[in-house]
């Protein structure tokens, strides 16, 4: 006897009439099949919390892993034959083995920070670190200038009228188009790269900050007036906290655009940096190295975006 039928038998030993309910003298007959369904078999979910957690993690990670495996298989099948234009995954692993396994070549960590050797053979992580260094400086400058300009344009109508048309036109200029001008101004490669990052990242930060200021709930203005907050208090205690979500949206977009810009800029100029690495490996017909670099660039950009988002959540909570 199965578990379910045992349950049914317990309430209806004769097995003829189904269970019935007495409601104010009225006998309601349920069909036997409904009663049968009322007693479901016990759930086969694991009851142990660790097992449940494991199931959750697997359920989240497994589809991505399967998709990845599927794509790699397709890629291998498409490019695995001789004379293929792109190296297959296995070819990449063979040819760029050194690049993949020794990313930190030429990188030293000591008390004064991370050092990447200028000349000679540098591992891929060293190139990434070099690029990140430039991004950080340019992005930091763009963040500060962007938030300040955004606040100005958002609060002051005349500043908006004066500056917004300029911003709308300049922001459509692609980063590489700024390169000749930047080189002409700064002459040196390093400051011109930083300027390039600055001029690329600043536009989304300005525009999102301005939008944040303009979208402050007008009720907060009334609260500030009733509480008689002076302009400084109003700015620091109401405007700034209210704009945090918009500011960080702008900062996230800005960091993504900075990363795009630096790779493009480094391809054009020489030296160290992941963009230079790509261009160099392409010129040396080492496409497998380029593909490895692509993966590293994507993962680094993803990490940058998530870091900024996490900082934003932290700031919003305080």
């Amino acid at each position: 006897m199965t578990f379910a039928t045992a349950q049914v038998a317990a309430i209806d030993p004769a097995g003829e009439k189904a269970a019935s309910v007495q409601a104010e003298g009225v006998l309601v007959q349920y069909p036997k099949s409904a009663v049968f369904r009322r007693f479901l078999p016990p759930s086969d979910k694991p009851s142990h919390p660790a097992a449940a957690a494991f199931q959750r993690i697997v359920a989240t990670v497994l589809p991505t892993t399967i998709m990845l495996a599927l794509l790699l298989t397709i890629w291998q099948l498409a490019c695995g034959h001789e004379g293929s234009a792109l190296p297959s995954p296995l070819a990449v692993w063979e040819q760029s083995h050194d690049v993949i396994m020794h990313p930190l070549k030429g990188v030293t960590f000591d008390a004064s920070g991370i050092h990447v050797q200028e000349q000679g053979d540098v591992g891929i992580a060293g190139h990434i670190i070099g690029s990140l260094g430039r991004v950080l400086v340019g992005y930091a400058l763009a963040s500060v200038a962007g938030v300040l300009l955004g606040m100005l344009v958002g609060t002051n109508l005349y500043a908006y009228r004066a500056l917004d048309p300029l911003f709308q036109v300049l922001r459509t200029v692609p980063p590489l188009a700024w390169l000749p001008i930047s080189l002409a101004i700064f002459q040196d490669v390093r400051p011109s790269a930083i300027f390039l990052i600055f001029i690329t990242a600043i536009w989304p930060i300005i525009l999102n900050t301005a939008a944040g200021v303009q979208n402050i709930n007008p009720a907060y203005r009334n609260v500030a007036r009733v509480l008689a907050l002076n302009p400084a208090e109003y700015f620091f205690r109401i405007v700034l906290p209210a704009c945090v979500p918009h500011i960080f949206t702008g900062l996230r977009i800005g960091v993504g655009m900075s990363w795009l810009a630096i790779v493009a800029a480094e391809m054009v100029q020489g030296g160290t940096g992941i963009g230079f690495f790509i261009w160099d490996s392409y010129n040396s017909s080492l496409l497998s190295d380029t593909i490895v670099a692509l993966v590293w660039i994507g993962l680094t950009g993803f990490a940058l975006d998530r870091i900024v988002a996490a900082i934003g959540r932290l700031v919003a909570r305080t």
């Binding site: 009334n222 509480l227 008689a228």
Partner: protein
């Protein structure tokens, strides 16, 4: 010299510039409110009740006429005319206690940090919100948010407490609970209160006077009915008091008159 009441509106006229010319919201309002009085302001939607309250708060400048509070002319908004907004307007990035503390910090000059935080918690206790002091507005219900809004207003020790349809966005049960809170506060603190409401029962239950406004534009004070029911008032007990029914009937008849004939001038 004519005795001027604690809060005196004299010939208050408020006009707003629009594309089609000047729009008159209030037309020569004369209102006298004594210290410690609880006045309910009632009228149809759009009749200018909020404009009147905002003028008393100093958020709107009168076009003509003056508002006197204890002899001083009302010009700028300030914490001495605390406002409880219809949508509570709590700052969502601050906790409940921090929201009240912000108001306390602006009105407690010369008090120590300990005294200020004691006062903030005392005021939260008056509205029964001490258990949620560390929560953010996003984590509490509408009724609780409005309690905090009321706490923030009374924390400023205002000369006049202005309430703009404070319970309009709440369900009936929460409204009843908060009306009791307000009655308790009134008994303890004896504030001068001007409350806008749509609810006739609420107006007659809570107020010493119900001021009825005519329809906008160019609204005026229509009728001013005193409510002489003894305090403390009990929601169920007042039903048996004849003046309660009579007052309710008066207000409803007034509002109905203006609903039937919106162009009727007072």
């Amino acid at each position: 010299m004519k005795h001027r009441s604690y809060l005196a509106l004299e010939g208050l006229t408020v006009e707003f510039p629009t594309k089609a010319g000047m729009f008159c919201a209030l037309d020569h309002i004369d209102l006298s409110i004594e210290k410690g009085q609880f006045v309910a302001l009632i009228g149809h939607s759009g009749c200018g009740k909020s404009t009147l309250l905002n003028a008393v708060a100093g958020l709107v400048k009168p076009t003509r006429g003056v508002i006197f509070l204890d002899g001083d002319v009302v010009e700028q908004p300030g914490p001495d005319r605390a406002v409880v907004f219809q949508d509570h307007s709590l700052l969502p990035w601050l906790t409940v206690e921090e929201n009240v503390a912000l108001a306390v910090s602006k009105t407690s000059k010369g008090k120590t940090k300990a005294e200020r935080s004691d006062w903030a918690m005392h005021v939260l206790e008056l509205v029964q919100m001490t258990h949620a002091a560390a929560k953010r507005p996003g984590e509490i219900s509408g009724g609780m948010k409005q309690r905090v809004g009321i706490a923030r207003a009374i924390a400023m020790n205002p000369r006049v407490l202005l309430m703009d349809e404070p319970f309009g966005a709440l369900d009936a049960l929460t409204r009843a609970a908060l009306q009791d809170v307000v009655m308790d506060l009134q008994a303890k603190l004896q504030n001068t209160v001007l409350m806008i409401t749509h609810d006739v029962d609420e107006a007659v239950l809570l107020a010493d006077r119900v001021v009825m406004m005519s329809n906008g534009p160019a609204a005026r004070i229509g009728k001013d009915r005193p409510i002489d029911i003894a305090r403390p008032r009990n929601r169920l007990g007042v039903i048996d008091i004849p003046d309660y029914g009579a007052a309710r009937a008066d207000v409803i008849r007034f509002l109905h008159e203006f609903h039937r004939n919106p162009t009727l001038a007072a």
